[in-house]
């Protein structure tokens, strides 16, 4: 596809939002990108795999879904030297390696996530931990997604590592790998109550130490607060 040479993280070829509406293609007509013609897509779909090009962040992989499907772009398998090595080494520890709108991510088992993060930094040059965060899915058995966003300066490449854990499970802290994980993990603990094993100083960071509850969980209402704490410390009935 023509997009592969451009340095920018190009979006995938336009996709209709809903079949009834004007395809987004028209909006993009003015943009100086070469669009893939719809006729080409079925052929292109067959070799959806990423060419193993670690230096190109924009390896535009996500091919459009079949035209009949109104849903947006779908995750595409991500195959590269790195993922093959990891898969060989960890087998079912790597549950998924995909790209979504050109962004690479892998879902790994919580038991091996620390080793994989260590390996990514030491062997694959992902020297910069951009962010560590979590997402809460209360209806799932494994309620939390913990996400590490990594970037490599030498490779100019960004990936996400994701793992799913149950309520009450702990994740191994990444602070020995990247110092920056310290505050990021404290924030995840503060907001979601996820514990990080081996963290040097795991305590709340944005909310006061005595606060009860973890506000970014889905069962925590937007107006909810720790009324007891507010009464004792602020001397008022409610902060609302």
């Amino acid at each position: 596809m023509a997009d592969e040479t451009t340095p920018k993280d190009q979006p995938t070829p336009p996709q209709p939002e809903k079949p009834a509406e004007t395809p987004a293609a028209k909006a993009n007509a003015a943009a100086p990108t070469t669009e893939a013609k719809p006729a080409e897509t079925p052929a292109a779909k067959a070799d959806a795999a990423t060419p193993p090009k670690p230096t190109a962040p924009a390896a535009a992989v996500a091919k459009p879904a079949a035209p009949a499907k109104p849903a947006g772009p779908t995750p595409q398998p991500w195959e590269s030297e790195m993922t093959t090595t990891l898969k060989r080494q960890y087998g079912s520890g790597i549950k998924e390696a995909s790209t979504y709108v050109g962004q690479k991510y892998m879902v790994v088992d919580p038991t091996v996530v620390y080793e994989i993060l260590q390996l990514l930094r030491d062997d694959e040059q992902f020297d910069y931990l951009v962010d560590c965060t979590a997402v809460h899915y209360p209806n799932r058995e494994q309620q939390f997604d913990v996400v590490w966003i990594l970037y490599s300066f030498p490779r100019n490449e960004r990936i996400r590592v994701k793992t799913m854990i149950k309520e009450g499970d702990a994740v191994t802290s990444a602070t020995p790998i990247w110092e920056t994980a310290n505050w990021l993990e404290r924030e995840v603990f503060d907001m979601f109550g996820i514990k990080f094993e081996g963290h040097p100083d795991l305590k709340r960071i944005l909310l006061p130490d005595g606060w009860k509850g973890h506000p970014l969980r889905k069962d925590y209402g937007i107006l909810q607060q720790d009324t007891e704490w507010v009464k004792i410390n602020l001397g008022i009935e409610s902060g609302q």
Partner: protein, 383 residues
Amino acid sequence: MTDTSKPGFYEDAGATGTFLDANEMVLNMGPQHPSTHGVLRVILKLDGEKVLGTECIIGYLHRGVEKIAENRTYTMFNPYVDRMDYVASVSNGLGYCLAIEKLLNVEAPPRACYIRVILTELNRIASHQLWLGTHALDIGAMTPLFYTFRDREEILKIFEKYCGARLTTHAFRIGGTQYETYEGFEQDVKKFCKFVTPKIGEYEELLTTNRIWLQRTKGVGLISAEDAIAMGVTGPVLRASGVKWDLRKAQPYSLYEKFDFEVPIGINGDTYDRYLVRVAEMRQSLRIVEQAVDSIPEGPIMAKVPKVIKPPVGEVYVSIEAPKGELGYFVVSDGSTQPYRLRVRPPSFVNLQALDKMVRGALVADVVAVIGTLDIVLGEVDR
């Protein structure tokens, strides 16, 4: 007690540890302190004037922006992002719009991108000017504050004329910009560039070779490139340590690849280098603004975006080079009109974590200099 009347008392006292011993002291600084740039509280462990360790207490300005995002539609949340880094609200808005556009798979038309670049770079200059003025004031130089605020005013006037607001601009919309440029926008911007170029020279005249400034900033708050990377530090702080990395160059967005500009870097990673890097960045931003305003294309300013924004299920991480570093948005969509989860990766929060490393072994007065040089905005640290 040591009997100081006897000759040679200090030798005894040294041996018993009652006199010239290290006297550790804990000092609280903030949250209401003029040089913490907001409500930052730092607990300092001191030996005399030497800093042995620090602990930052943050969260005084926590408003739960990420929780609010989950309870607002994508469009409704747009103005909220301005309130994070309120001295660079345009950058926040750009990052947010780009993230949602990525989810929606639309791209802003070129004219909108150019307007975005002009305003974002003007905002970068304004942010650096505010930083320079307040940072110099912290260190004891009062004059630069008046110079920089006088010139920053001209940028705010352009913002006001463009979108009606000076600080929390809400200048961009998902898919482009809401407003066409006003009559005379180009001339105003060009006039500003002409006006401010010699002014940056004036700031430099006041500080760059100023002996007091040099003594207060050279060798203060050192951080090596390795440490900076390990700490996740980005923006001018990382570049002053010698890492030539700028997202506008590394992974260009909003047509930044079309503009010719340099990425200034420092050598020593001290407070003085960070000052030089930011001043150089102001000049580079002016270069970008001048190029953009000269070649701004005609055309639509909004992409075709549905009235009700309902991105398909998926998650993206999009980041931009904000004046303070990498500002990222990690957005999870469940296919509804509201974000399922919206995480902001704030540069100030991550950079502030490096404070402890940078001030250990320094003097109390250097803590003030280092807080200033990190260029934090507590609205963004606490969100």
